[in-house]
Structure formats: C-alpha cells, structure tokens
C-alpha cells in the first residue's frame, strides 16, 4: 500500500532542510551530512542540494556502510553486498547530521554512531530520518523526522527513491 508519493517526499525534504538551516545557520561551516547506505545517502544528497540554496558554503557529504559494525554476523550474511564507507573529510569538531530512510529498532543507528566515532570526535551528531516507525529496541530518537508512522510490529515499511529504485514512494507491506 502506497502511503506517500514523490511530491510529498520532496516537500518534506525541503521542509527538513529549512529546519536544519534555521537551527544551524550560525555555524554552517561546521555542518556536514553523513548518509547511511544506501537510501540515506540519496536523502542526504537531496538535503545538500536544498541547503546549498540558502548558502554559498559547500556542505561536505559522506557515506556510511555499517555492515562491519552490526552486532551479529548472521545479519551481515543476509546483506552480502558491502559497499564500504566513504568519509573524505575530517569530522573533528563538526556538527554531523546523520541521515537514514527509516528508523525502526534503532540498531542501525547504534552501529552508525560507533562507526562515526572511530573517524574522530565530532562536536555534535544529530539524526534525521525520513520515516520514524514505532517499536524501538534501543533508547535512540531522531532530531528531525519526515513522517511518523504507527504500524504493527510485523509490518514492513519500504522507502523507494528514484536514485536507487525504479519508483519513488513510501510503501506499507502487511504480513
């Protein structure tokens, strides 16, 4: 079942970019975006595009692959494609906006935080997600949320983005 379409997603991303800008306009030069592979990166790229409309400062963007930080090897076995992380700038004393498509249990974000901290000591890390769904298993909450969805534990939320998929939208799959 389709819950949101391309226009709603883009409007929401513009909206989130505005919120980030308002909050951090005094230290935009410390701001950077890090997307979690794969769709987090596409969202981070769109945010970068929107943010750079407000400023001439080029906002650095990085990619995180948390495969090696999962707490279980079995999970790695399920996603056999490891793409590697690319953070080609120093994150020391930066304000990082960590970006992912969906937050669910919070375990991905836990892994991402551990990985970022191995790259250096940022001043601050904030979390942005396009979809916040219920049933968290760790005490991790996002700072910026696109859509809040209340679904059953066994339901699946899929985010498709044009950069990665053939279609765009947020879909609910009941099981």
């Amino acid at each position: 079942m389709k819950l949101k379409g391309e226009r709603e997603i883009n409007k929401k991303i513009r909206n989130l970019a505005q919120k980030i800008y308002k909050k951090h306009k005094k230290n935009l030069d410390a701001l950077c975006l890090i997307g979690i592979k794969r769709r987090g990166i596409s969202i981070a790229q769109r945010l970068k595009y929107e943010l750079e409309k407000f400023t001439n400062i080029k906002i650095p963007i990085g990619a995180l692959d948390i495969s090696f930080y999962r707490d279980d090897l079995q999970m790695i076995a399920l996603s056999p494609i490891v793409r590697g992380s690319e953070i080609n700038f120093s994150i020391q004393d930066k304000i990082i906006i960590l970006v992912d498509d969906v937050i669910y249990t919070g375990r991905t974000i836990r892994a991402a935080l551990s990985e970022i901290l191995d790259y250096g000591r940022p001043k601050k890390i904030e979390l942005l997600v396009l979809v916040d769904r219920n049933y968290r298993e760790l005490p991790i909450q996002p700072d910026y949320v696109g859509f809040r969805l209340k679904v059953k534990k066994e339901d699946l939320i899929d985010v498709f983005l044009k950069e990665e998929d053939e279609k765009e939208g947020i879909y609910l799959k009941r099981r």
Partner: protein
C-alpha cells in the same frame, strides 16, 4: 568456501569477492581508529610449526583489526610432528572452542588433514604455507597488488624468477594467475625446476634479461637456504649474477611494471640493495595489502560459517 587450503578451492568469483572486501578493509586500515567490531567474540588460533614473522603477524593483525580474539601458538625450530601429535592437536583444538585455525607446517598436506579431521566441527582452516606445496593467502595478496595497479588480469604477462621447485609461493601464484587469465613465465636454474614442470603449463625462459620489457609484473622468489637451496646452486654469487634483479634491469622494464617479492628478501641475492627505492618495487605495499586480504578471508570464512548454521 569452508576452508582455504589451496588456490584451487577458489573460483574466479570468490577471488574477486575477496578483493572487494579487501578494498573495504583497506579503507578501515586507513581510519584514525583502524578497527571494526564485526568479529567480536570470535576466536582464531594460529598454529605455526615453522618460523614466520610477517605471515603470523599479518594474520594476527588481521584478526585484531576485526575485533577477533587470536591465540598464537608457535613451535620453536621446525620439528616435524608425527601423525599422533597432530591428531592430539586436533583434539585440543576441539576442546578449546575456537572458530578457526591458521596453520603453517613444513609438511605438505597438514592443513588438509586438519580440515578433514575438523569437518564436522564448524572450524575453518587456513593454509598459511604447507611445506613446498602452497601458500594461498600470499597468492591472493600478490594478485590483489597486481589488481590494484591494472584492474584487470587478462593478457598480463607475469614472470616468476627463482626456486620454482620448492617455493609454495610460486605454486600458489602460478595457480591464481592462470585462473585469472594471465600468461605466466618462469625463469630459474634447471636444478630448481620441479619434476612435473611440463604439467604446470607455464613457459620457461632460461635467460629472462632479453625479454624484461615484455612483462607487467616480475616476482623474485626467495632463495630458501632452509630448504637446502644452496646444494642446488653452484654459488650464491652466480645466482645473483644470473637471476638477481639489479638496478640496470629496472631500466629495461616497462615504466608501469611491478617488481614484487614475497619476503623476507635476501638483499644482494634475489634483489640488489638499490632496487627498493624504485617506485615500481612494491614489496612493502604487498605487506600492507596482506593484512587487508587476510581480513577479507577470515571475515568471509566466518560469515559463511554463520550463514550455513
């Protein structure tokens, strides 16, 4: 892939998968904190019945960079173990609840024996050199070093110089390069060619100097004094004159060729002292690549183990 005993255990696809992971781990090794927690709680035992510095260190580091516990078990000297003792080792390993064994032994086939005995136990075995037979992780890191430079193996010409008879590195290297589509040439004194040489499907060059400009990669092998190499040679000095790579040889090589050596180098025998400065000499890059390759192999073997549970 359950174990890594021989290059023959690997398909071309496996080899490229190992390269792909190795390049991810290379990125990890260059981070401010070069360690990932993926193998927390796993344990690997390194059993070295033969002296080794870089291979054992490389495996140990590879484990530690993956947060895998590692127990190093070394035998002083190179005493050949009797069958019973090896079986005893197996029984001990089983009681120690470990996930994998990295073994080096002076007798060919010992890693295979170990793997056979551990078949039901979900413990992987990596051959880190068995006698004069094979050394598959060295072959992987050699091939990876070439891959990073050329990104392709098809029609590359590779020359291996030295003790083809006793060198496990040469045996594994020849297998992997042929599998990947390279043309392999060897050069050595006749006395150091193996008996079954014709079956290896490689070309023999008695004098390689004329053709140095033809090769994309030249691998000099170590003169293995511990394997009685000296009795196969009239003199070390003659070996250096005929088969050693010297500065003037570098001038005849292609500008983008690679010069490799599995180490440890006998400087002044296989290579003259002044070649290390040349940028085509990538011996130290091989050492760095070795850690990334071994991380990839250990990671993939353990992943496989848990995938099939």
């Amino acid at each position: 892939m359950k174990h890594l005993l021989s290059v023959n255990d690997l398909s071309e696809k496996d080899i490229y998968k190992i390269f792909e992971y190795a390049s991810q781990f290379e990125e990890v090794l260059k981070r401010p904190i070069p360690i990932v927690p993926s193998l927390k709680g796993k344990t690997v035992l390194t059993l070295f019945y033969e002296p080794s510095t870089r291979t054992q260190t490389s495996f140990t580091l590879a484990c530690k960079r993956l947060s895998c516990d590692v127990v190093n078990f070394s035998f002083s000297g190179s005493s050949i173990l009797k069958g019973e003792s090896l079986l005893d080792t197996v029984k001990n390993i089983l009681k120690m609840k470990i996930d994998g064994v990295v073994i080096r032994h002076s007798v060919a086939g010992v890693p295979h024996f170990l793997a056979y005995r551990l078949e039901k136990e979900r413990v992987f075995v990596i051959n880190a050199g068995d006698g004069t037979n094979e050394h598959p992780t060295q072959a992987l890191l050699d091939a990876y070093t070439i891959y990073k430079k050329f990104r392709n193996f098809k029609n590359l010409r590779i020359l291996i110089i030295g003790d083809i008879k006793h060198s496990r590195v040469a045996h594994s290297d020849i297998l992997i390069f042929q599998k990947l589509g390279c043309e392999v040439y060897v050069s050595s004194p006749y006395s150091l060619l193996p008996i079954e040489f014709e079956k290896m499907n490689v070309s023999y060059l008695p004098d390689f100097r004329e053709k140095l400009h033809d090769f994309d990669c030249i691998i000099a092998l170590r003169v293995q004094k511990e394997r009685h190499n000296l009795s196969y040679l009239s003199s070390i000095r003659e070996y250096h004159l005929l088969y050693g790579i010297k500065k003037e040889d570098l001038n005849k090589m292609k500008k983008n060729a690679l010069l490799m050596h599995p180490g440890p180098v006998n400087w002044g025998i296989e290579l003259s002292y002044d070649v290390l400065e040349d940028e085509r000499c990538v011996i130290l890059d091989q050492v760095f690549n070795g850690v990334a390759i071994r991380m990839a192999v250990i990671f993939l073997l353990l992943q496989e183990k848990y995938e099939n549970r």
